[in-house]
């Protein structure tokens, strides 16, 4: 599954809860042509689609991230093959 080209990072994106509904998608594959992209780069890439993507991921909206099932900050650096989940603040319990 890993790409032989160093400069492309292939990611599996997962959208959950309100974002899954807003995006009408549970997730997708995304490739970034970047040496060491961060979660912020993923967010910027999605925002550039405009519409609901720009609205839900607008600066100031509370969004959380997990990479390979661990909560991370937006400056977390991604590696080829990472699963990046994007979701609203959790409300279980």
């Amino acid at each position: 599954m890993r790409d032989s080209t160093d400069s492309v990072v292939r990611l599996r994106l997962v959208y959950l809860a309100r974002l899954r509904e807003a995006f009408s998608s549970a997730g997708e594959a995304l490739s970034l042509a970047d040496e060491a992209p961060t979660v912020a780069d993923v967010v910027a890439s999605l925002r550039a689609r405009g519409n609901v993507w720009a609205a839900e991921l607008a600066p100031g909206r509370a969004v959380r991230f997990a990479v390979n099932h661990r909560l991370v900050r937006v400056d977390h650096t991604l590696a080829d093959g990472d699963e990046v989940a994007i979701f609203p603040p959790v409300t279980g319990g």
Partner: protein, 148 residues
């Protein structure tokens, strides 16, 4: 298994009994059960649907349990969390902590719930008199989690 995610209901009494069985060093059991209220933020609630992030959920809960055991002098911790559609009065979550003494058991139980509320990937969607809406995270949950 210290954590379980399931659609079925749980029997709090049986889970408590199981956790403390065979451990004669237990002197204190602290437990918490979260349930669906019929009213939230002033509006009536008919059903509550819990969504989660399969794959991450169990590991997030296991991390929380491990952290609770590391931080507090307790003997065992159990977390059971339901997913799917529930109604008012239904049980959502159970946390049970056993320990030699009550102070650490209470602390570890409250710590586990506070962490779960801010770090475990569950989301609630209510259906009721207001229609359908995702429950918003509460600032008080962040404050509670920040205490520890």
């Amino acid at each position: 298994m210290p954590v379980r995610v399931q659609t079925e209901d749980f029997d709090a009494g049986r889970e408590i009994a199981r956790l403390r069985a065979e451990d004669r060093g237990v002197g204190a059991v602290a437990a918490f059960i979260g349930t669906v209220r019929d009213v939230n933020a002033g509006a009536g609630v008919d059903t509550m649907t819990l969504e989660h992030y399969p794959g991450m959920t169990e590991s997030a809960l296991e991390d929380i349990v491990a952290e609770a055991k590391r931080h507090f002098a307790v003997r065992d911790v159990l977390v059971v969390h339901r997913v799917g559609t529930l109604g008012p009065g239904d049980q959502i979550v159970l946390v049970v902590v056993t320990g030699a003494h009550r102070g650490a058991a209470f602390d570890a139980c409250e710590f586990t719930m506070d962490r779960l509320k801010t770090r475990a990937p569950f989301w609630k969607k209510e259906r009721g008199e207001h229609g359908e809406r995702w429950v918003e995270a509460r600032a008080s949950d962040d404050e509670a989690a920040a205490r520890w």
